[in-house]
Structures are given as structure tokens and as C-alpha cells.
Symmetry: C2
Subunit: 134 residues, 2 copies
Amino acid sequence: MIMKYSRQRECIIRYLESTTEHPTADTVYSYVRQEFPRISLGTVYRNLNLLTEVGEIKKITAPDGADRFDADKSRHYHVLCTSCGKVSDMMIDDSKINDFHRLAEENYSGTISAHSILFYGTCRDCEIKKTQTN
Amino acid sequence: MIMKYSRQRECIIRYLESTTEHPTADTVYSYVRQEFPRISLGTVYRNLNLLTEVGEIKKITAPDGADRFDADKSRHYHVLCTSCGKVSDMMIDDSKINDFHRLAEENYSGTISAHSILFYGTCRDCEIKKTQTN
DNA sequence: GTCTATGCAAAGAGTTTGCAGATGT
DNA sequence: ACATCTGCAAACTCTTTGCATAGAC
């Protein structure tokens, strides 16, 4: 995959690396538009897909609405807050993840190459809010 | 949620319970149309969503294309074959799943209520095909 | 009789794509 | 110079929705 430098792509990466918000393509678009007012959504999608293909970022598919993107390449999982919709990170010990992966392989007749997990729950902020209202 | 009987819904459930193919809404539509030629895709979607809400079936969200549906209510996971696109089932011991769930809770500041996992890999059939071609 | 479900068609959200021109190397 | 990237707009896929009628209870 040959990939030329582009200022737009650079800006998209910079943004994704600076945030922990797991933005959607549309949110990325809004942000990058501050610097490149004429950028198009199509360009944003093309770059997000390109970056996903080369492994520079990760695509998070949630059952509701648009995909989200994450430039954090460390091994971690995501928690979707069913109250506010935010996606936050969860770190699990590598060895434990490996154990789980192995367990999956043992229970499957084919080959397992990867897995993606989405946890559902309530984030800390929403829990605090709930306590205050009660 | 009040739900009246309908022959169309009955047919959808019957189909989902008879297959292990994890069909998409469109596939369900094609099938049910054999019995109800005038059924509309909208009705299929409305019923699939209704059944998902009451927990009668499960919706499987994959990063590629349409959602799939599964009437198998036993606790199990799904493997998406990156070669043929088929989704197959994987059973993991309940106690192991509970361990993993607990592990996740320990590593998160909020509350975890559920999780969905999608494994990626190569299904048995595709592995066999690969061996034969080499 | 009343409320839910249906068929139809139109609309909606999210994403992809064809094209001509601009940009990177 | 040539290949990639961009902006624009149109198209596409999947899903939802408004409405009038049919069906369940």
C-alpha cells in the first residue's frame, strides 16, 4: 500500500492521537474542518479507512449508529455507557487476554486470529450523577 | 410491551429457530416471503427489533454490512470467518465467562452490565478448502 | 370496538464512489 | 511526470417511519 503524505490526513491522525473521546467520522470531520474548511466528509472517510487498513488506528463498531475511531494502539477494550453513550477505555492485563484468547481457540474447530469486545455498562460520571439525583 | 400474535412474526421466529446461519434481515425477508409473498422488509425489521427488545432473539453487529439475528438463547459467542463471511457459534464454559466478566469489572471504574464479543478467524470449512488447494 | 400489526413507499443515517483537478515526491 | 489525494456530488446500503388498512382479542 503506497501512501503519500497529505496535510489533511496528518491533521486527522493528530486529532485522533490527542483525544480519548473515540470520535465518529462526523466528529473528526467537524474538528478537521477548523483547519481545513473545505475538506469533505468523503476525504475523512477515505483516510479513516486507509489508516484502519494499515493499522494506524482502530475502528470501533457499536450496535448503535456510526463507527468510532481510536488511535490508541495499546491493547485495550471499550466500554459503551448505556446511559450517556460515551465510550471509555478499559485495560486488561496482557496475560489474561492471552489466556482468554487461548480458551477461545480451544473451544473452536477452526482458527481464531483476533477478537473484539464491547462492554456495556455505566461510566463513572453517570454513576456519580445517579447517586446525586437519588 | 403488549404484543399481539401475528402469523408473520410467528414465521420469522420459526425460521430463526430452525437455522444456525445467523441470517441478516434481508435473508429473513427472502425466506418469509416464500410463505408470505406480500410481506414487506419494514415488517421484517419491525419484528426483528421487537423480538430483540423482548429478548426472544439476539442481534449480532458485525463491522461489515448488515446486522445478523440469532434465536439461540444459550450463552455463546460468534466467530466471523474472514474468508467466507460466515458466522459460526462458539461455546465457552459459563464459569470461564463469569471469570472474564469479573476481571473486566475489576479493571473498570464504572459498572459493567454485559459484553459482546466477536471473534475473527477461519472456519473449519475454509481451512479444509485451503489445505486442498495447496 | 379498540389497539396492534401490516404493506407500501418515502425518508433517514452512515458510508462509499466516480470524476476532474490539486498536490506530493 | 506520475501516482496519489482532494472536493464535490451523486449513489448506495441498511434501516426506520408515516399512513391507511387489515387483523387480533
